[in-house]
């Protein structure tokens, strides 16, 4: 299967510069690129040096709203051409979104399209943030805040222009998405390896690095931003829950909060599987089936669920888990 990395970020935040640099690195050599440009005349794809056969410009509209079918079709075409040997045997796909794209629908497309479903795996979301103008964009553009909120990796660009990145910007990023490590790129230069582990599957080590994906042990994910009411928080739970509770939780969240659930990812201690935790991931109302780890990644066996949301109170999810688990236990006792 081919990992797909989504590279997003607001207008002018340095996505194309970053991508151009990455594609010159040996680690990124076998990469197919899909560039989505919003406008009648696309330029970004002219600035990216990649094999012509493996570079596709989608210029018919913004990925998140108009060309989702086009995206799935394009990925499908790329994979078919790879299988037929008519393009170099790339080992990953990078999708550079337009600066105005909402990454959530793009993630959903990649997660749900049956034609490409068996051949790709999510490689994560990397979001560029302009160190000069990023704070303004975050404060005024909902899409900019959403791009930051759903990211697995945040990349501060143009930090060379400001010397020291303003602490207010870092604070705002932490409030919007405390689980995503913040990297810096100057003139587009960044260690490609730092992006390879953006998703749950570490592309470099070919391992499932759930700790890193969730933001590491010490990540502060309790932030609250006033940017468009987007919040990130982690729900910790000492006691394991029954598998049916997890199922009911995901169904209820999708049913009542789907639109406001920008992203949810976590590792969960399940009663029936004490030594093999479940890993969960969802975007709005679309969820992966839980994946079962072979073992706990550390001695910490608490369930940990990172929630990135617009307006869903933390206590709602905490009491939802308590209530569902309480009812499951009560029903099982009565039987």
């Amino acid at each position: 299967m081919i990992p797909v990395l989504i590279l997003t970020g607001f207008l002018g935040s340095g996505k194309t510069t970053l991508l151009a640099h990455l594609l010159r690195q040996p680690d990124f050599a076998r990469t197919a690129v899909i560039v989505n440009e919003f406008g009648e005349i696309g330029l970004d794809h002219e600035l990216v040096e990649a094999s012509d056969d493996s570079l596709i410009a989608l210029t018919t509209g913004c990925l998140c709203c108009k060309v989702r079918d086009d995206l799935a079709q394009t990925v499908d075409d790329l994979l078919r051409r790879r299988e037929a040997g008519s393009v170099p045997p790339f080992t990953r796909i990078v999708i550079e979104t337009s600066g105005l794209a909402d990454p959530a629908p793009i993630l959903q497309t990649l997660m749900t399209d049956v034609n490409i479903g068996g051949r790709i795996v999510l490689g994560g979301v990397a979001t560029t943030v302009d160190a000069v103008h990023g704070a303004h964009a975050l404060g005024h553009e909902m899409i900019s805040a959403k791009q930051v909120a759903v990211a697995d990796r945040l990349i501060l660009t143009k930090s060379d222009l400001v010397g020291v990145v303003p602490s207010a910007l870092r604070d705002r990023l932490a409030a919007l998405n405390g689980s995503a490590p913040v990297l810096e790129a100057q003139h587009g230069r960044i260690d490609p390896r730092s992006l390879f582990d953006a998703g749950p599957y570490d592309l470099l080590t070919k391992s499932f690095d759930v700790q890193s994906w969730l933001g590491g042990e010490g990540a502060d994910v309790g932030g609250h931003s006033h940017d468009h009411d987007i919040q990130t928080y982690a729900i910790l739970r000492d006691a394991p829950i029954w598998a049916v509770t997890l199922t009911l939780l995901l169904e209820t969240l999708a049913e009542h909060c789907g639109a406001d659930l920008l992203r949810l990812k976590g590792i969960v201690n399940i009663v029936e599987s004490p030594d093999r935790p479940a890993v969960i991931h969802g975007v709005q109302h679309v969820f992966h089936p839980p994946t079962w780890l072979a073992r706990w990644p550390s001695d910490d066996r608490r369930s940990r669920i990172v929630v990135i949301t617009r307006g869903i109170p933390r206590r709602f999810i905490e009491t939802l888990i308590d209530s569902l688990e309480g009812e499951v236990v009560e029903v099982s006792v009565r039987r």
């Binding site: 490409i116 479903g117 749950p200 995901l250 009542h256 109302h285 992966h288 206590r315 209530s323 029903v331």
Partner: protein, 100 residues
Amino acid sequence: MTRALDEALRELLAQSLAAWRLTGNVEGVNDDAIRILCNGIAIRVERAPPAVPFRWMVTIDGRRRGAVSIPAVLRQVRSALDPGYARDKVRVAVTPLVLS
């Protein structure tokens, strides 16, 4: 039956109003029921009697209906309070979370 579950449900209903961006009041009443007042609508949630095949009873403006589970209670309450509510079912992704 546990008192803790009743308390958790009461708080869940209060938090649900916030999650649904509704303003109202949720309180316990003397006979172990929960009363919700929101948008001029009164809702009562209580345990179902043992003889009926439900776990909860939900009374909305005098009309009493059974609910088999807490998610069913939430669905009935939301439907009554939020005219724009359209049930959104979970979709299961076809792509795996990790490479196999």
